[in-house]
């Protein structure tokens, strides 16, 4: 019996779905549900995590992310402008910085500023400074590339129009070019915040006091103290999603809005 192309495509989809269902079922059957429920879904024992996971964990994660973003945004803007400069030295410095910090794991940066700085200079920065600097410097490298693309996407005529009205270069950048660039990069910038939110978990390598715990550290602490296996980590993960999913939706909204205004 010959099938039309459409029938063949449909049959192929059914077969794919069937394979997928069978694979999931096999996985579920092979799972040791008793051990899993005692070690991963043991929600009966996580009471002590509350309200601390809100008042310290979530709040600190948000604070660390915000600090990193503020430094990252300012640093990133500076680097982006340097990278577009007509002065070669600025371009080289910016390029070197961006390649370096995008090329090494963020974890190493945390260790460098958390442990390296005290060793080298004999000063122990407060933890929020370490986070601000480590997270901010890594974020700056990524945000710089995003902003550079945004600045370049502003039509050249905009700068010319601003200059022809008598605005000095810096004034034209501040009032005309940079605001338009930010509008263009709003979606990728929101995604940077999501990455930062997750990267703020790397702070766990530093010695923290309980009031400085963010979500991941809170979860890891719960693993050792609550006897509920990995369940506390699952809870921490859920809190990350509470932050990142709305941000992701926001990014998509920005995207569709700019797609609409472009026409």
């Amino acid at each position: 019996m010959a099938m039309t192309a459409r029938q063949r495509a449909k049959t192929s989809l059914y077969v794919q779905a069937g394979i997928f269902v069978v694979a999931i079922a096999a996985l579920l059957l092979a799972t040791d549900w008793k051990t899993i429920s005692a070690n991963v879904f043991n929600f009966g024992r996580i009471g002590p995590m509350f309200p601390g996971i809100f008042t310290a964990g979530l709040v600190n994660t948000l604070i660390y992310t915000a600090l990193g973003f503020i430094v990252g945004l300012s640093g990133g803007l500076l680097l982006a402008l340097m990278k577009l400069s007509t002065f070669p030295l600025y371009r080289w410095i910016a390029t070197g910085y961006i390649e370096f910090f995008r090329g090494i794991p963020a974890l190493l940066v945390f260790i460098a500023f958390g442990y390296g700085v005290p060793l080298a200079f004999g000063v122990q920065w407060p933890i929020f400074v370490v986070v601000m600097v480590s997270l901010g410097m890594v974020a700056a490298a990524y945000i710089a590339e995003t902003l550079r693309a945004g600045l370049q996407a502003v039509p050249k005529g905009q700068l010319e129009a601003a200059r022809s009205l008598g605005m000095p270069q810096w004034r034209a950048m501040v009032t005309i070019i940079i605001p338009q660039a930010f509008k263009i990069v709003l979606p990728p910038l929101t995604n940077e915040i999501i990455l930062l939110t997750k990267d703020s978990s790397l702070i766990y390598v530093l010695g923290l006091t309980a009031s400085q715990y963010e979500l991941t550290k809170f979860g890891r602490d719960g693993i050792s103290s609550l006897g509920a296996g990995l369940t506390p980590l699952l809870v921490a993960g859920a809190f990350y999603l509470v932050v990142t999913i709305p941000l992701s939706l926001l990014a998509r909204k920005f995207e569709s809005r700019s797609a609409r205004t472009k026409r």
Partner: protein, 268 residues
């Protein structure tokens, strides 16, 4: 170059008009010499139209006058300013010179009124109230007073270009440069823009206009300058340059512009 007060015969607007004097201007991009020694005089209150084939250097010439491009050689005077003096205050000089671009270049993140006030407040340090008043008056002048609160992307091309003219006028320029102001417009909106420019010319504004609108040039221009290959080939009163061109290259160009449906077989 002296500034003069000129008054339009039939109206009340008074324009403080500046002249332009260009001597032996040369400009190269790399090894490509685009302007090969241009000399051009625009007297205060005069309207000069620049015509010529694409790539002949018209835009480059215009952009050298307000230093969007840096000339390699030669001298340019605008109003009292020696534009080619390395010590010239470029931003101060540019305030005297309004420029209107083919692509309008309105600021899309600002509404029409803010487009016309941003440079007033940031550059001329006028108060927001004063700037608003001046901007509104200039929007009325181009017939768009009612659109002050719109954003550029809500306007037609012709409306955008008229806003761009109002934006430039709000800085009280003494000279206006137009670079093919109607070339990017739908045909039905060209007339409104030309009408505004005609009015401006009558009010005594000094204008240097790159255009392919020969009827406009013939009617409004005091003089027409034909450029080709980076040199001035022919110049004179509009009636003569457009109506009875002397140079073969001018004749050839005008034949093509005035009769675009006339088809010639390419020779190469």
């Amino acid at each position: 170059m002296n500034d003069v007060e000129t008054t339009n015969p039939g109206g009340t607007q008074t324009v403080h008009a500046a002249g332009v004097s260009i001597k032996d201007l040369r400009k190269s991009y790399g090894s490509n010499e685009v302007l090969k020694g241009i000399s051009l005089e625009v007297r205060p209150g005069e309207v000069v139209c620049l015509i010529g084939p694409s790539g002949s250097g018209k835009s480059t010439l215009l952009r050298c006058v307000n230093l969007l491009e840096q000339p390699n050689e030669g001298a340019i005077q605008v109003g009292g300013f020696e534009a080619t003096d390395p010590d010239v205050d470029i931003d101060k000089m540019r305030r005297k010179v309004g420029m209107v671009f083919q692509q309008f270049n309105l600021f899309p993140h600002l509404d029409v009124l803010r487009n016309c006030t941003i440079a007033q407040t940031k550059v001329l340090k006028r108060s927001q109230g004063e700037a608003d008043k001046i901007a509104q008056a200039n929007l009325e002048r181009v017939g768009l007073g009612h659109l002050a609160k719109r954003f550029p992307d809500q306007l037609s091309g012709g409306q955008q270009q008229r806003v761009a003219i109002a934006r430039a006028l709000s800085m009280n320029p003494e000279l206006m440069l137009f670079d093919e102001p109607t070339s990017a417009l739908d045909p039905e909106t060209v007339g409104d823009v030309l009408a505004v420019m005609r009015k401006l010319a009558r009010e005594g504004m000094t204008m240097l206009v790159v255009t392919h609108e020969m009827a406009f040039a013939r009617e409004v221009a005091d003089r027409v300058v034909f450029m080709d290959g980076g040199v001035v080939v022919e110049e004179g009163v509009a009636e003569r340059v457009i109506g009875a061109p002397q140079q073969p290259r001018t004749q050839e160009f005008l034949r093509r512009v005035l009769d675009p449906t006339h088809i010639e077989v390419a020779e190469d």
